[in-house]
Every structure is written in C-alpha cells, then in structure tokens.
C-alpha cells in the first residue's frame, strides 16, 4: 500500500529525514518509535504533504502512485489520514460542521452522494460512543478549549468517520489517562481491517499492549535503524535507545 524509498526531507533548511525506507502492506499495523526530535512527526507530515517540509530526494508510492507530487487534500481523499500530534483549533467552525464537510469532500471524490442529515447523525452517534466523547463537543468549535485528551479522542473520531485506508497516528496516546488510552486503542482496533493499514508513532510500549503491532521500527536521526516485532518495543521500554546507538556505532566501526 505504501512504499517509502530512501526518503530525505528538510524543514527550515535543516535536513531531518536522511533516507527512510519503509514498506506498509494492507492489513499491517506498524509502530514507529524513536527518541524526541528524531523525525517521526516529520515523516508523518511529509507523507501527508505539509507545505513546511521539503522532500529533497527519495520516493513514496501509495496505492501504486507517486504520493509526493499530490496535493494534500487529494492524498487525504485517496485515503491517507494523519492524526496529529498537536491538533489545531479552528475557531468558530463547529466540529460537526467540519466533519460533515470533510466527509462530503471524500464522498464527492468517490462519486457518492453527499451524506444526508439523518445518516450523518447515525454515523456520528455510533462513533462518539466508541471514542467516548460528549455530544456537546460536536457543537463546539473544532478543538477549541478541548482538553488534551479530548483533542486526541476527537482525532480518532475523525478517523472513524472518514474511514481512510491508511491511518498514521502521531502520538495519539500522549497525554491520555489509562482509560482514554484503552478507548483510543479500541478505536484503532475497531478501524483495523484486512484492507487497511495503520502506522502508529508512539513513545510507549503500553499502547502496544492494546494495539498489537505487526512490526516495530526505530527511527533515529532521520533513519529507520532497526525493525522487529512486538518484542522490540518491550526491549526499548526496558532498555531505552542507547544500546541501539551503541550497536550502530559498532556497526560503523566494523
């Protein structure tokens, strides 16, 4: 579904991604871990097409097409979804209004009729139950005055309503209490299917107890330096990242 080859990118003149290789297949759940500032969010933003990031070389193909020359809204309409590490506020635009417009943009792209009021209400009701947010949040402006946890749950609500093919979740577990963590995980599990893929960026093994990843990758200094299965996450939790750094420098020395 997604193939990233030797991807390099910079932001504000700094080289951040220094050759990322990653391949994500349908049905896969990948976890990306790595120290602060290693480039995890940069990778997510580059894939989604944030204008602040410049791809300097490498490729990314999504569903067999070049992803990187598509406009961000078209990437989204073709099923790429990014749950933001820091969701922004949109003053004055109600959550429900925004969601409806987003959903209709997708539907139009897929040649479908716009959602009618009743159907939309059903979709919303079903999904707010899963993510456990209050109905009142739908009538409030997008993320404005939401608590940290509410913002993250709101991202999952968008994920469930928009129903993409590839979901990239950037630290959706950060700032969540343990109950919220379970709820967010169950949202992701609900989303999980054979024809969809998930990439979760996280710092904590505990999320991976609820969302069982097929692959775990370590992103360090702009490269994926180690990949493994769930056991790798546990090892990182127990030992931190230094041993990987050591391994790498040994490799370099050899």
């Amino acid at each position: 579904m997604l193939t990233i080859t030797d991807l390099k990118a910079s932001v504000a003149g700094n080289d951040i991604l220094k050759g990322v290789n990653l391949s994500v297949n349908e049905g896969d759940v990948h976890a990306i871990m790595g120290p602060n500032g290693s480039g995890k969010s940069t990778l997510a933003n580059v894939l989604a097409g944030h204008p602040a990031y410049t791809v300097t070389s490498g490729t990314a193909t999504y569903k067999g097409e070049n992803l990187l020359d598509k406009e961000p809204h078209l990437r989204a309409r073709e099923g790429l979804f990014l749950a933001f590490q820091h969701p922004v506020e949109i003053p004055g635009v109600t959550n429900a209004y925004f969601l409806k417009n987003a959903l209709n943009a997708l539907r139009e792209h897929n040649g479908e009729e716009p959602v009618d009021a009743v159907e939309f209400r059903t979709i919303l009701e079903e999904n707010i139950r899963i993510v456990g947010i209050d109905n009142a949040l739908l009538k409030r402006p997008v993320n404005e005055g939401f608590s940290g946890g509410e913002k993250k749950r709101n991202e999952i609500l968008q994920l469930l309503v928009l129903n993409p093919a590839l979901a990239i979740l950037d630290e959706t577990d950060s700032g969540l209490d343990i109950d919220a963590l379970k709820i967010v995980a169950s949202g992701v599990n609900h989303f999980r299917a054979d024809d969809r893929a998930v990439v979760v960026v996280t710092h904590y093994q505990r999320l991976l107890n609820y969302i069982e990843p097929d692959f775990v990758h370590v992103l360090m200094d702009g490269r994926i330096v180690k990949s493994g299965d769930r056991m790798l996450a546990q090892e990182l939790e127990a030992r931190g990242y230094d041993w990987i750094r050591d391994e790498l420098s040994e490799g370099d020395a050899a």
Binding site: P51, A52, F84, I90, V93, L162
Partner: protein, 485 residues
C-alpha cells in the same frame, strides 16, 4: 414596468468612463440635468419629483451648507479627487434595453450567480434579461404590500412617501442625520433622488422580514439614495438591504443616507449585505461607497441593531451608528468587512450614550487579503448624564497573505465616571497549520480558507436572518477566491 432592472452586464469600468457606448443613449438624453451642481439643478430635481416647498428649502439649505465644507480626509483611504461637477445629478428614471437571454450576459457574472445559488429567474432579473411571465416580480411585490398594509405598515419608495405621507416625512427627515451633517450626507440631502421609506405603527410587529422585496426589485435607486425607517412605540421591524449578487453601476460615487428612528420600546434590526463592484484585480473601476447610517434610540427601552456584511466596493467609508437617547436603550453593531486585491475599507461604528443605563455592543470582523487595507474606526462616547451605561467592543482582524493591512482606531470619550467601556482587539493570520489540518481531512484549499474565515465571522453571521446568512457565507468564500496561493 416601473421596476425595470438595470443592465448590469457591461464592464463597469468602461461604463463609468463612457456611459454612451451601449446604444441606449437616446433613452437617457431626454430628461437629464447638465453635469454639475448648482441651485437650479436642485430646483429641477425637486420640481420633477413634484416636491412640496419645504423639501426644496430643505435641500437648498443642505446645498448651501455643502458649499462651505470640505471633503473629509481623515479616513485611511486613498483615491483621486472626485470631480463633483462632472456628476449628473438628475436623470429621469430610464428604461434600459433588456437583453434577450442569459447568453448575452458576461459569463463571469453568471458564474458568480451560479456559485451563490441564485435561481435562474432571479439571475435574469439581476443581469437585466427580459423575464417571462412565470416570474412576475410586480405581482410578488404587490402581494407583499397588501400583507403589510393589513398591519398598517407603510413601505414604499421615498418619492412615493413624499407624495402620500408628507407629514411623516417632514416630521422625521433629518431628525437623525441633519442636513448639516458630514460632507457626503449633506451632499445627499441636497440631491437625493430616491430610496425607501418605512413606518411601522405603534405596537405592530412587522409580519415579515423586509427583504424579499429587495432581492427581486434590485432596481437602480441611484447614487444618492435616502432611506428613512421609523418604528413607533413598541413596534418591531427587521429590514434587509442589499443583495449578495454582485451589483454593478455606472456611477462611481455612491453617497447614501439611512436614518432609523426608534420610539419607546421599539426595535429595529437593520441588516446589510453590500457587494458593489470592487474594481478589477488591479483596483481599477470600482465603486466608492460613502454611506452615512445612523439610528436614534429616542424612546426608553428602544433597541437598534446594525448588522453588515461588506464585501464589495473599491472604497467603503461607512460607520453605522446609534444615538442612545432613551434610558435603557440598546445599540448594537455587528460587522464583517472583507477586502481583497486593492480594495480599501474604513468602517466601524459610533455609539453615543446619552440616556441612563444604556448599553452598546460592537463586534467587528475585518478580513484583509491581497493588497487591500481594512480599517476599523469606532467612537464610543459616554455623555455626562448616562449613568450606569456600558459598552463592549470587540474588533478582530484576520489577515490572509502578507501584503494586506489591518488597522484599528478606537476612540473613547467618557464624560461620566459611572460607566464602563471595554475594548478588545485581536489580529491574527490564517495559519498554515490550520489550512493543512483541513486539507488533510480532504477539504480543498479554497474551501479550507473559507471555512476558517466563516468561523472567524461566526458571531456576526449568526445575527443575520437565516437565509441571508447562508448566502453571506457563500459570498465570503467568493470574495476571497484565489487569495491564498
């Protein structure tokens, strides 16, 4: 047909420069004053309109005063000097040549109508195409008038009011905007040709929004329009002026006057959507809109609310104001002003608190894009006797791109210590992260901008009558098209 819509299909820029290019000049020439302004021209206007002597005197007094004053220069707008002697101040109502079909209409204009969702028949009316019998504006207007008449509401053209209700006109004309007011209002007082008049009698709640009428009768009321609206004791009226469809006019200068008079416990809600031709991308050829709008809350517990959505004109100079004379009276001003390309807007409000325990609210949302300049200018005056009065002003500016300018000029004059005046102002930019967030959810860049702008304006949009709010949203989007690259 009295309500012949004007032919709006010509390129307004060249139209301003050359009225005679479109082959209807023979119609025009017959009854028209020579360009320029003098007492004879004013006498001609008054005579042609069959006005009583007092009104002629009233006009002349205004004119004589006008000769002694100068065009104001304090607004943050720039334009070449206006040659008042090249303007034709009187031309008989003209019947312009109608087009055969929409095929003859400027496709760009049609595209805009389409985006605004204006029904086909109305598009024809607006564009000056002959309409078939199915859409009979005259009969719609008549039904409308009958209903109003049942409630004793008078709603007619200003000229008609002068003939049919001279006492009412004489009693109220100039009570709120005297014929010796500002430069443009004085000019208007001398030469106004027509406009609207509305009187809502005691205790009557006007049974409908006075709006539909305007949509289907978007006729040319001239460049010096005069509106007078009176709500008698306990009366309530909601009045909607303007139209979201782009309006073009061969006259570059527009200097209208609107006077609102609210008696005890009366409520007037006055909403405007202004979309005059703003000029081309380089700012050439747009309308100069210099308007004086003022309401007087004369009686205790009276209430006047102005709501405006200003997207058009090359230059807008406009400060809908309230004089809060009655005790416990309330004045409100809700405004959205959008400027794009080279448009200039200097707009805001003036709240003058005279009575006790009076309240005023100002909510101003300015959006500037392109190379435009958008200024909020407001005055809150607390008179010596207005104990326990309060004002709250909120002025927010939103910038799109980095060539646009926003300014805020709040003036506060407090002559009574027992009052509260609050002013808040913010300036923000549409930020990349917000735009990216919306696009990441599949929303295209232009819709993303318009969603953010609409959100920014929400408080004001909510003040508009429902169906107009929907149109205003679309209008905002269209006005800002292409403003983010």
């Amino acid at each position: 047909m009295a309500d012949e819509p004007k032919t709006e299909t010509m390129d307004a820029e060249s139209a301003i420069q050359n009225e005679y290019r479109w082959g209807f000049s023979t119609d025009i020439e017959q009854d028209m004053a020579p360009p320029g302004l003098n007492e004879d021209v004013i006498r001609l206007i008054s005579k042609r309109k069959n006005e009583p002597d007092w009104l002629l005197e009233w006009r002349l007094k205004a004119y004589r005063h006008w000769l002694t004053i100068k065009e104001p220069s304090w607004a943050t707008v720039h334009h070449p000097p206006i040659d008042y002697n090249s303007i034709i101040y009187y031309a008989a109502p003209r019947k312009k040549k109608l087009l055969e079909s929409l095929d003859e209409v400027d496709p760009k204009l049609l595209e805009t109508y389409e985006k605004l969702g204006i029904p086909l028949d109305e598009q024809k009316m607006l564009a000056g195409v002959a309409v078939d019998a199915v859409f009979d504006s005259v009969s719609v207007a008549t039904t409308f008038k009958d209903t109003l008449a049942k409630y004793g509401v008078i709603f007619c053209s200003f000229s008609e009011a002068v003939q049919e209700h001279p006492d009412l006109v004489r009693k109220y004309l100039g009570r709120v905007v005297p014929p010796t007011d500002n430069f443009f209002a004085v000019l208007n007082s001398a030469v106004f040709t027509d406009g609207s008049f509305c009187y809502v009698p005691k205790g009557v709640r006007c049974p409908m929004e006075l709006s539909t009428y305007f949509r289907i009768n978007a006729k040319n009321t001239g460049q010096f329009e005069r509106t007078l609206l009176i709500a008698d004791e306990g009366a309530t009226v909601s009045y909607l002026e303007g139209c979201t469809a782009p309006q073009r006019d061969e006259n570059q200068l527009h200097a209208a006057v609107v006077e609102l008079f609210a008696h005890e416990k009366a409520t007037i809600k006055y909403s405007t959507v202004q979309n005059w031709y703003p000029g081309d991308e380089n700012g050439k050829g747009g309308i100069y809109n210099f308007v004086t709008k003022r309401g007087r809350c004369d009686g205790d517990h009276s209430h006047i609310s102005w709501t405006q959505v200003e997207t058009g004109s090359a230059i807008t100079w406009k400060y809908p104001s309230c004089i809060l004379k009655g005790d416990h009276s309330v004045g409100e001003f809700y405004s959205i002003a959008v400027t794009n390309n080279y448009q200039q807007a200097d707009t805001g409000s003036k709240m003058t608190h005279l009575g006790k325990n009076t309240r005023s609210t100002i909510v101003s949302k300015g959006i500037s894009a392109g190379h435009s300049a958008n200024s909020y200018r407001g005055l809150v005056r607390m008179g010596p006797a207005c104990n326990s009065s309060r004002n709250h002003s909120q002025c927010d500016s939103l910038l799109l791109g980095d060539q646009a300018a926003a300014h805020t000029f709040p003036y506060i004059d407090v002559q009574n210590p027992d009052t509260t005046v609050e002013h808040e102002a913010t300036t923000s930019k549409v930020n990349d992260d917000q735009l990216f967030f919306l696009q990441q959810r599949g929303i295209n860049p232009e819709d993303a901008v318009s969603m953010i702008v609409n959100g920014f304006c929400r408080e004001v949009l909510m003040e508009l009558p429902m169906e107009f709010a929907v149109e205003a949203r679309k209008l905002l989007a269209i006005s800002l098209e292409g403003s983010i690259g």
